[in-house]
Symmetry: C2
Subunit: 578 residues, 2 copies
């Protein structure tokens, strides 16, 4: 920092594509801080260092930062400064602020500059300081790209690009620049393995009225993929040429989403072009599944449910020994998924957590010396799969042995929250902000809160946590629409005690339409029993009990054909009406 | 329009202070269109005219525009253009757009210009065309200003101004310009009668670090008021000098809220000063009642409830005759309120509506030939009072005779929605957008929607519909906080059938605080029985029935001391547990 004349350096978690999960090469924040959570920003001055992260990671970050000189800043909690307030405090009236302009969204950069504009700060945005500090930094991954076939996508890349061009045209845009790996993978119907759990390739793209340019490392493309891309009128250019190509653009009206492109992409094109800010059109196009995608996803969910039942059956038969470890459960879940047809990989690093470990919302168990599971309390498993026919994400919390009254009560509250959200009908036009309280209400009634959203969109053979839609108490302007896939995952997390979450995936459907409007609701598409041994039925309303019994009936019908006799017996018992 | 070279003229409903209710002088939109609702914008070209209004007024506007050549544009309904889309359609690529820059908020003007910027339109913003079209236009009202005494406000004007100066200082502002009549009345502890139902005086104000300038017509001030204002270090300047004074401001950092000041105020100060845009600080200061204000308001609500019970008792004894008119009920309600201590005037034009008339959310009954009330169906009365010790707003729907099953069912649904919202606990930090669905959920479940918000703030001896907080499904960024006063008023409105609304006022209170956050809830402060003859108890949950019985017990305890023997007997019966 002192060589580069930087007084304060900001190290975000992102890669240049602002991915949630990134290739090892881009885990610089983790390398520098030791904190392994997927979200967090490290800020360093000559004397101090602070890590800003959100409620999902408070417990984990506290543990992983212990012994370092880095102070944990709990975002959105009273008594903690925002990143900008911290900077103002540390830098006072002047100083130079450094960051890599590729690792920060254009909108975040604007906000940062706006919040700090009263001071006389300078910005050095071309420095990747992690590079010099990190001797054994991994190289770019160069995994093989494969085509996502028409049977699963329902639409060719060329058809998708043509729909996109209509949108650009309507917005009077002549060019559209893309860096989101998920959006690019979806638009071009390509996938790869550059990032663990998210089957994407590192790439950029530029779409104009007449061209579709894909910037990607050519080593990743075989002749077949190249041929199919050419057939879809896609030009292939070298990944490393992207920024120099960008800076040569001239007289274009460039459509871009400041939340989805990095600051360097904006500054590289700001002199000779016009910018049209707009919520990313591909982000929204891909959020509503086509009929083909939906039919495929429903199949993937059934296979995934069968794998989950095999896992739960195995767990029930083996937990009493006290010898199982959390890592055993993670491996076994991956094993049962891998036996399902069209399986590619797990859709995120599983969370297999016993007892109080589950209070860490994004816990991951150590690979070595993973803790043994005592035959008591609750066990939480959050896991999912990437299948050629879709992405899954499911959490079940289940009994590992005798439970406390508090565990049973909290499990039931979470289940009630989950069921209420699943049963809600809502007017077309509202967002996930309107719906959040339907799940959260019973928590707030009991003066409990979970420090995270209630649901997120799920990609289709793409990111497991994707936008645009979210169900959360904070503002979102993404209107829920038929075909959107979301999770429903309220929880209760009590530090030192237990963590409980019940998560299904739902798809938005039209429920009714009359002169007062169109009403939507959720169709649940995850199939896996919810542990009835943990329920205090007396807390539930009749309609909630009915929902559970109906759901369990469907689970049995859908999954039993995929199971062996023992497993069917287990499932029959697990799905008995309460 | 053609003399002024204007191709399209926009006539909003507002006065230069952007008041919801305006003096007759400013009812130009009503004069020009014939539509009497409080919200709506008329747009006129050489060939066409359109009136844009929201869901509260669709039925009323349809009726009042019948026979005119004005087309009704239903805002936010599918198939209807926005105001800007209509302009683009009518004007095509060029033309001149006229409006009076004092009658449109600065933020609305920005939005208008932004939406139309792709075209080559010119703007003529200094023309009040209504002036020439309106021969017998009323003059400014010049009612007497009176001081709102310390016993009711708990704070002197000079104390309030001093708190405000801290805020200005924090925002690095040197001046703050105000046009909101409600904000000015609150800040200076003055009231008047310039606008029916809202006890304010037409005034502007400018606050700096050293001065507090009130622009008001001097005829309205007597020696006593002048003396008290001087004692609070307030300078009094002529109302008519405001814009010329503004345009002489120089080198000021002016804090203003673009939603609360008109476009002319912004353009008058834009050349030689800096603007700091900020949500209006006084708007937020006055939203949270002080202890003095709250204690006073609770008294006012009890008096208001007693007046309501007298009215309901009288109605029950007289409705069977079939000779009562809606106007009789309105007058009688005003009469009973006027007998209460510290009463000033009604807080809005009452809505006394029988049967299908009540389906018009903002119905008002004709003064002459008001319809007689048949002894059947439901009667809705939305009414309130301005008292020296606070403002009330309450709606009851009650039986005028035999009811249909549908009326009983809908009444019960509205009651359930009302009770659910009243019972909710919520984390500090959320807004009315988060809460709206708590009331609306049972409507949406039944595929019904009410086309309005669920609640609004109520001023303190000020506007009955005030911001900043709202409970509505649309986005609001106003965080609910202890001391805020809101209405809770879900409804069902079925054109040609009936309209049902149950409205109480609530105050936000702290319910609990622990390591997960601070939880708030609502304390109901309106006291008046809810007609138990209209309820289908089988639709209600036990906790909802319990709420109603507990509420009715409190109503009886609070109100019976203010009633005569007959009325007490009636109330005892009306508040019997169900």
């Amino acid at each position: 920092m002192s060589d580069a004349s930087i007084d304060l350096y900001i190290q975000p978690s992102a890669d240049p594509h602002l991915s949630e999960y990134v290739a090892d090469r881009f885990k610089a924040r983790q390398f520098l801080s030791g904190f392994k959570g997927s979200a967090g920003t490290l800020v360093v001055t000559a004397k101090k260092a602070a890590l800003f992260t959100d409620g999902r990671y408070f417990i984990q970050a506290e543990r992983e930062l212990k012994g370092s000189s880095i102070t944990l800043m709990k975002m959105d909690m009273a008594g903690y400064p925002t990143l900008e307030e911290w900077i103002l405090e540390e830098l006072n009236n002047e100083g130079s602020i450094g960051y890599d302009g590729r690792l920060i969204a254009a909108s975040e950069e604007s906000k940062l500059h706006r919040c700090l504009k009263s001071k006389n700060y300078s910005y050095i945005t071309s420095q990747d300081l992690a590079e010099s500090a990190w001797d054994s930094r991994p190289d770019y991954p160069l995994t093989k790209v494969f085509v996502h076939p028409l049977a699963y996508t329902g639409q060719t890349a060329s058809d998708k690009i043509s729909t996109l061009r209509h949108t650009l045209n309507k917005q009077n845009a002549t060019a559209y620049i893309m860096s989101s790996l998920n959006d690019i993978a979806w638009l071009f119907n390509i996938r790869a393995n550059d990032v663990a759990h998210t089957p994407v390739a590192y790439a950029y793209a530029i779409i104009t009225a007449t061209s579709a340019q894909l910037f990607i490392k050519k080593q990743q493309l075989d002749a077949n993929v190249t041929e199919i891309l050419y057939r879809n009128q896609v030009d292939i250019l070298p990944y490393d040429n992207f920024y120099s190509y960008l800076s040569q653009l001239k007289d274009e009206a460039i459509l871009l989403d400041p939340d989805k492109v990095n600051a360097l992409m904006v500054s590289s094109t700001s002199t000779n072009n016009m910018h049209i800010h707009c919520s990313d059109p591909v982000f929204h196009m891909k959020a509503r599944l086509s009929e083909t995608e939906e039919n495929n996803l429903r199949q993937a969910q059934i296979k995934d449910g069968a794998a989950m039942v095999k896992l739960l059956h195995w767990f029930d038969n083996n937990v009493a020994s006290g010898e199982l470890t959390e890592a055993d459960v993670e491996l076994k879940a991956a094993h049962f998924r891998s036996q399902q047809s069209l399986f590619i990989e797990t859709s995120f690093k599983s969370i297999p957590a016993h007892g109080s470990n589950a209070a860490m919302m994004h816990y991951s168990t150590p690979e070595n010396n993973s803790p043994k599971i005592p035959a008591k309390s609750l066990f939480l498993l959050d896991s999912g799969g990437q299948y050629m026919d879709g992405t899954t994400d499911i959490t079940r919390t289940f009994t590992a042995g005798p439970l406390t009254e508090e565990e049973i009560r909290d499990f039931t509250l979470v289940l009630i929250a989950h069921i209420r959200l699943n049963r809600v009908h809502f007017l077309q036009g509202v967002t996930g902000t309107n719906l959040d309280i339907i799940a959260r209400q019973i928590m707030w009634e009991n003066h409990i809160d979970y420090k995270c959203g209630t649901g997120h969109s799920v990609g289709y053979l793409l990111g497991v946590h994707e936008g645009p839609a979210r169900i959360k108490k904070e503002h979102t302007d993404v209107v829920l629409a038929p075909g959107m896939v979301l999770t429903n995952e309220p929880g209760i997390y009590k530090e030192g005690k237990h963590g409980i979450r019940t998560e299904n995936t739902v798809i938005v459907k039209e429920a009714a339409s009359n002169e007062t409007g169109t009403y939507l609701n959720f169709d649940v598409i995850s199939y896996c029993p919810i542990d009835t041994r943990c329920i205090d039925k007396s807390l539930m309303r009749n309609e909630e009990i009915e929902w559970l019994n109906t759901y369990h009936k469907e689970v049995f019908e859908k999954l039993s054909p995929l199971l062996d006799t023992d497993e069917v017996g287990w499932l029959q018992n697990a799905t008995k009406a309460i």
